[in-house]
């Protein structure tokens, strides 16, 4: 047991290992005889990291507690007058607590499985070393983020994670659509990052001057210092400044976790390899926003206004994203919309004060969503297309994949005893208990409940289209086949997690993990199906969704909405993503770029034009003067005489006059 606690102080090795992997594969990957070798090296290092991560998580389950090791001064702004007479130290270090342990478990396990799976999925790609280098760097950054012990360090890794995501979305950079999607992802999350940064500033100055303990002031951003990391909600109060700071944090989280209105980048991010979608854009990085909200709510706390805003964003996004998934023909994008929707659940839970419940859903979601993506990846790997309407009947040639996708779907739909049921039900149940005291939560809770039905429907629509029926609808597709063992093993492991992951809640140690941070909200979360009626409603909704999906799409049926149907405009609206993407494109490409062009014009012709105007005026004046330079000696003599007379006038007339009238000496 003590051995597990000892592991905490070696936690920093996890990101370090992945950096080593990044350097090894990045520098030498292309020199190796077989490109896979670099991949295997990354898999090996990732395996060690996973063992460490799992060990730390088990240690936390046995002994929930907070381990802080802050000793690396990253930036020391010594003796700065103003609010910081002793100076500001920005100390980097590691922080291990139940939150980070759970997240670490997710990141290292899914990370390792994806690394392994990629050996098969990417084996034909010449960019394999680059892929593994970037993936290693991503894992380093992600684990670093999870282990950060202050907001600034968090932000450093947060941005690094973002840039890795940028490169991995644009992995097939020769494709213009991939390059464009990478740009979009970077810029949209950048908007969130800027808000996040402002939030950091506000917290920093607020706690530096009014923080509860001396530790806050001296260490600036350290949000867990010593043994008392908890800040009762009451101490945050209702300060307007802190409300704004909380909203800024929400902005940052919304950018990273693709919450409305910054969600547009995530569906387009599916341009990257499917493995990347599984790891980064489903299981880990996009969950970082939720994680940020969770640590903020535990260590700093949100005001009531912030909480409502977070619940509103999360609840609305849950439903909003699910509607778009309903009509989409692309298998990966359906899962992507589903990710946005599920992240909405987590955000909502964290906002309502149930940080660990949200994290629990993050935990289960990571496994079943990675499973769905990897299964979809197998299909894409085999067929080379992502269009659901070209597929069909895949359950026979791809038995493992089909089963895995079905398990993932059941988990997503919230059917017991699969993992998703427990966590989703906890969210809905815990919030239900809060509805009485927070009447404004009601509409968002109902939206979230409705989303359960949509979720079950769209994921099984995808399953029936791809795996149901008798054969591919597009005869030009190559015959389907199952991938190699490296691709199947992760599917099997993840299937296991998707089936049993939720049952962990009945393990006493794990439950203790989830109780962590409850003090922040003062409300004990609900674990397990305590309210059977509520569980019954949500399970019924999920089953109904599956039933409708079977009725419309089962057995190879294709449901075509009649042209005259009044739902046609709705369908077009959904297919066009509520025209939000078009609006953003218009703002970016027309409005902002138009302003820039206008400014450029002003710069060239107005500002520089004024300069050239002066130049011409001087030119004209000097041209006049130049004509006096006749070269004739007499003329020069005349100028000399005139100048002499000018001096006479100055000395004999002007100077005495000035002296007489201005009274100088």
């Amino acid at each position: 047991m003590d051995a597990f606690l000892l592991l905490d102080q070696w936690a920093f090795l996890i990101p370090l290992l992945m950096v080593v992997s990044f350097a090894l594969v990045g520098l030498f990957g292309t020199r190796l005889r077989a490109l896979e070798w670099g991949g295997w090296a990354a898999v090996g290092i990732g395996g060690i990291a996973m063992v460490l991560g799992v060990g730390i998580a088990i240690g936390e389950m046995l002994h929930p507690g907070t381990y802080v090791n802050a000793q690396y001064t990253w930036l020391h702004l010594a003796g700065t007058p103003g609010p910081f007479p002793e100076g500001i130290s920005l100390v980097a270090g590691t922080l291990v607590d139940p939150l980070s342990a759970l997240m670490l478990l997710v990141v290292t396990v899914v990370g390792f499985l994806v690394l392994l799976y990629s050996i098969g999925y990417m084996h034909h790609d010449r960019g394999l070393p680059r892929y593994y280098a970037e993936l290693s760097l991503f894992l380093a950054a992600m684990t670093g983020l999870v282990l950060s012990n202050n907001l600034l360090e968090f932000f450093l890794f947060w941005e690094l994670v973002g840039v890795c995501s940028y490169f991995l979305i644009g992995f097939y950079y020769e494709k213009p659509s991939a390059a464009s999607a990478a740009k979009e992802a970077f810029l949209v999350t950048r908007i969130g990052d800027v808000l996040f940064l402002l939030g950091i500033f506000i917290y920093f100055f607020h706690f530096a001057t009014t923080g509860p303990s001396g530790g806050w002031a001296a260490n600036g951003f350290v949000f867990a210092h010593g043994t008392s990391p908890f800040l009762p909600t009451g101490s945050v109060g209702s300060s307007t400044l802190l409300t704004i700071a909380g909203l800024m944090i929400l902005g940052g989280a919304a950018g990273k976790s693709a919450q409305f209105p910054l969600h547009v980048w995530l569906p387009d991010a599916m341009e990257g390899p499917t493995t990347v979608s599984a790891l980064i854009h489903a299981a880990t990085m996009v969950a970082a926003g939720v994680y940020l909200l969770a640590v903020t709510s535990v260590f700093i706390g949100f005001t009531a206004t912030d909480q409502l805003a977070i619940v509103a964003v999360g609840g609305f996004t849950t439903f909003f994203a699910a509607t778009m998934a309903v009509v989409h023909p692309d298998i990966k994008r359906v899962i992507a919309y589903s990710t946005i929707s599920q992240l909405g659940y987590m955000v909502m839970a964290v906002g309502a004060g149930f940080a660990m419940v949200g994290l629990f859903h993050l935990f289960t979601h990571a496994f079943f969503k990675a499973l769905l993506f990897l299964a979809a990846g197998s299909v894409i790997h085999a067929l080379g297309t992502q269009d659901l309407f070209k597929m069909g009947g895949l359950r026979k040639p791809m038995r493992v994949t089909g089963t895995a996708f079905a398990i993932g779907g059941l988990a997503l739909a919230g059917i017991p005893p699969f993992a998703g049921f427990w966590s989703k039900d906890d969210i809905l149940g815990s919030m239900y208990g809060e509805l009485g005291s927070h009447p404004l939560y009601w509409p968002f809770w109902i939206l979230a409940l409705l989303a359960v039905f949509l979720t079950a429907y769209y994921i099984f629509r995808a399953w029936f289209l791809a795996f149901g029926g008798n054969g591919p609808r597009d005869p030009t597709l190559p015959p389907a086949h199952e991938g190699s063992w490296v691709m199947q093993v992760p599917l099997v492991i993840l299937s296991g997690m998707a089936v049993f992951g939720g049952l962990l809640i009945f393990v006493p140690g794990f439950q203790g993990l989830l109780l962590y941070g409850a003090g922040a909200s003062g409300i004990p979360p609900v674990y397990g199906p305590t309210d059977l009626a509520l569980s019954g409603i949500s399970v019924t909704l999920g089953a109904a969704g599956i039933g409708v999906a079977y009725w419309l799409w089962g057995n190879g049926r294709i449901f075509v909405l009649p042209e005259s149907s009044p739902l046609q405009p709705v369908r077009r609206l959904l297919l066009n993503r509520y025209y939000l993407k078009a609006a953003y494109d218009w703002v970016g490409a027309r409005a902002v770029y138009g302003i820039a062009r206008g400014a450029d014009f002003v710069d060239r012709y107005v500002i520089d034009g004024t300069v050239h105007g002066f130049e011409r005026a001087f030119g004209a004046a000097s041209d006049r003067l130049r004509r006096g330079q006749t070269g004739v000696v007499s003329d020069y003599a005349a100028y000399v005489i005139a100048g002499l007379l000018g001096v006479f006038v100055l000395l004999l007339l002007v100077a005495p006059y000035l002296l007489a009238h201005l009274g100088g000496t």
Binding site: T630, V632, V633, S634, Y636, A638
Partner: protein, 105 residues
Amino acid sequence: MTTLPESGFLLLSGLLLGVGVFGLLTRRNFILVLIALEIAMNATILNFVYFAAFAPHAAGLSGQAIAVVLIGFAATEVAVGLAIVLGLNRLKGTIDVAQGNLLKE
């Protein structure tokens, strides 16, 4: 010694300088320009000599000494000026001042 009209010399000097300047500016023949210059020069020398005679501290005869130096300079100037005139004449075939715009080219 007989008395002399004190301001008269200065007036004469000023008038001569005016004449010299007038000639300097108006004559087109280079030699006439030189002569005008000499007139102006002589007006200046006259001033020095006058002050050597009448100034309150004239004992040192500085004015006369300077006048000597100036006469020397003036003579040199004429020599060089005439050399320029000859050079110009050879180069352009004329000694018209208005044609001598070498400074411009």
